[in-house]
């Protein structure tokens, strides 16, 4: 216990130094600086998450990363050049790219000119630096009790504020590409996405590394508001450098008769956690939250989804699959909360893990907290190895053992991937998964 407390104290000191060192470089002053200071105080009170905090039980950042690294320098021209080729590789077909390099918006690498009518994009830095936007700044930098989200609010260097006008149907998907170019640094981005009433859009967020980037830490957060009768496909793909840390958070609110299709995939990086906090705040709203973790070597990937059924007559479906090879560890925590007034809630949560080696580990924790009495809720969890009888069947049909395994893994991860609406984003995610499979 003493050792854990000492680690926390060390980590806390490191954070204090980090914040002090970054203070002059963070955009915004006056009210924004005040928000940041309060957010940092909240972080300091909680400290770096550790295993004694239930929500972080399986992803003990005190033990896994120990400290947060210094803030990344502002990308120079050389960094932008290196980032460019990674952006090209990471780009989804027909998507409009918005690029953040080491936590800073890079319009020169982005397709700002291709944005459709009804889409407005501004950099967070621009908003924070204008005192007239303090209300908006407060909204974008809002926090929860989660320490990493508080730290993100305190340290955010830049991000995107995207608004989609009421009634707009955006045909081309919008892709936010985060590129890391540095070594042993941290970057913090905070974005805000709002769909007006009846708007329809697809947004994909991708995390990649430029050549030479390594051992970096990313802390990203996005606030998403899906307006009444609007629909959003939000996809997140973490394909970081093999030794990178990626901590991403989403705070998402879904309005009346609106729908959200959420998908998260982690297929690289050393330590990753995606935590999505979704509130179904309008009656008749629908959530489809799915994901895949593809894990090998000593990778640790955690997906934590909390769905809050705050009003009646909402539907949520949650399907998460993990494939774990070598000494990898997958964590899935799925919590569905049905509030007392949320009658006629229909919620289902399913998580499955496929373990490809004896050392692979999967921790699955589905939870239902039901406080209403007229609901349909269920959850399930399975973990297991590839079925040897299936492997033999396929080999007896001429497939090599490796190809037989790949076919079965592809089928296993295909199930949640098929929850993404058909089109370029499903193909994009499938291609990323194929890349992982080919590298086995």
């Amino acid at each position: 216990m003493k050792r854990v407390l000492a680690r926390e104290a060390d980590a806390g000191r490191a954070k204090s130094n980090l914040f002090t060192a970054a203070h002059g470089r963070l955009p915004g002053c006056g009210p924004v600086a005040h928000i940041r200071a309060r957010a940092f105080e909240a972080y300091e009170r909680a400290g770096l998450p550790h295993r004694r905090i239930e929500a972080w039980k399986y992803t003990d950042l005190c033990a896994l990363i120990g400290e947060v690294l210094p803030l990344a320098p502002r990308p120079d021209a050389a960094a932008l050049v290196r980032a460019k080729s990674s952006v090209m590789q990471a780009a989804a077909d027909q998507a409009v790219k918005l690029v953040l390099v080491d936590g800073i918006f890079a319009p020169e690498l982005s397709d700002v000119g291709s944005l459709e009518n009804g889409v407005d994009v501004r950099s967070l830095r621009e908003i924070l630096e204008n005192p007239a936007n303090s209300a908006m700044a407060g909204l974008v930098l809002s926090t929860t009790t989660d320490a990493m989200i508080s730290l993100n609010a305190a340290m955010a260097t830049d991000g995107l504020v995207i608004t989609i006008a009421e009634g707009s149907t955006i045909k081309r998907s919008i892709q936010i590409v985060h590129v890391a170019t540095s070594l042993s640094v941290s970057d913090f981005t905070r974005s805000y996405l709002q769909l007006g009433k009846g708007a329809h859009a697809a947004v994909v967020e991708t995390f990649v590394a430029a050549d030479g980037a390594s051992r970096y830490q990313t802390n990203d957060a996005i606030i998403v508001l899906v307006g009444d009768e609007a629909s959003l496909s939000y996809i997140r793909v973490a394909a970081d450098a093999a030794d990178a840390v990626n901590l991403s958070s989403g705070i998402i609110v879904v309005g009346t008769r609106a729908s959200l299709n959420l998908f998260s995939m982690t297929c690289s990086g050393s330590i990753g956690r995606y935590q999505g906090f979704v509130t179904l705040a309008g009656e008749g709203s629908r959530l489809s939250a799915n994901g895949v973790n593809l894990i090998r070597e000593k990778q640790h990937a955690d997906t934590t989804i909390v769905v809050d059924h705050a009003v009646p007559h909402c539907i949520s479906r949650n399907k998460f699959h993990a494939v774990v090879d070598d000494c990898g560890r997958s964590v899935f925590q799925g919590q569905v909360v049905v509030r007392p007034a949320s009658q006629k809630t229909d919620a289902a949560l399913m998580t499955r893990a496929l373990l490809l080696s004896d050392q692979a580990e999967a921790d699955n924790k589905p939870e239902l907290e039901i406080l209403a009495d007229d609901v349909t809720c269920g959850h399930g969890s399975t973990s297991g190895a590839l079925d040897t009888s299936l492997i033999f069947y396929l080999r007896a049909r001429g497939l090599s053992e490796k190809d037989a395994q790949a076919l079965l893994i592809r089928a296993f991860i295909g199930e949640p991937i098929e929850e993404i609406p058909a089109g370029n984003l499903r193909e994009f995610v499938t291609a990323r998964a194929e890349h992982w499979l080919r590298a086995r």
Partner: protein
Amino acid sequence: MALLEVRDLHAGMDEREILRGFDLTVNAGEVHAIMGPNGSGKTTLSHVISGKPGYQVSAGQILFKDEDLLAMEPEERAGKGIFLAFQYPVEIPGVTTMNFLRTALNAQRKARGQEEFSTPDFLKRAGEIAKSLNIPQGMLKRGFNVGFSGGEKKRNEILQMALFESSLCILDEIDSGLDIDALRIVSNSINALRSPERAMIVITHYRRLLDYITPDFVHVMSKGRVRKRGGRELALELEACGYAQFEGAA
């Protein structure tokens, strides 16, 4: 040169010997029936020939087209032309039947040094065979064997047998789980695949199947080896006397 030659085969699992000196010679164009009571080693024989992991071969030889089959992986054996129709075909959710068939066919063609089928050619060929087996096109788009009835699964096995053009087909209790009509359809399909180049080993408990598929040779198996060999009339004899006469044989 025999197509398949099994010589004094001893094999088992978990240190338990199941096959105890099994011998069999199969020539191209022949249909052999292997009959025997439960536990006589019929399925073990089919598994050992097709290379299922987990069996230990302690003695004997299996030659296929004069090559040592025991030195090959299961997929190599499939590539050489050995097809096992499973008694209990597996279900593979998430893999459409069409995708599975194309992947397997092209893997075998590649192993045989043949050109892989293009998508249109494959669709045409698979569609024709499926039609001849009364397999609706819709079934080919579904997950492999997922939700198929027993008869549909067996027809799916025969579809593969036809598609892969294997030279030795081992049918492990193809009649199990089939009603009379399905048995007739499956048997007719198997008969349609008889050819001078292809041999079949039909493993069954019951003479009934052999009313539809007329074997050239019948082998009665008990306790891991062949106790009696004969022509089709041996199946009739078994129907009258049962397997009891062989159960006590050492």
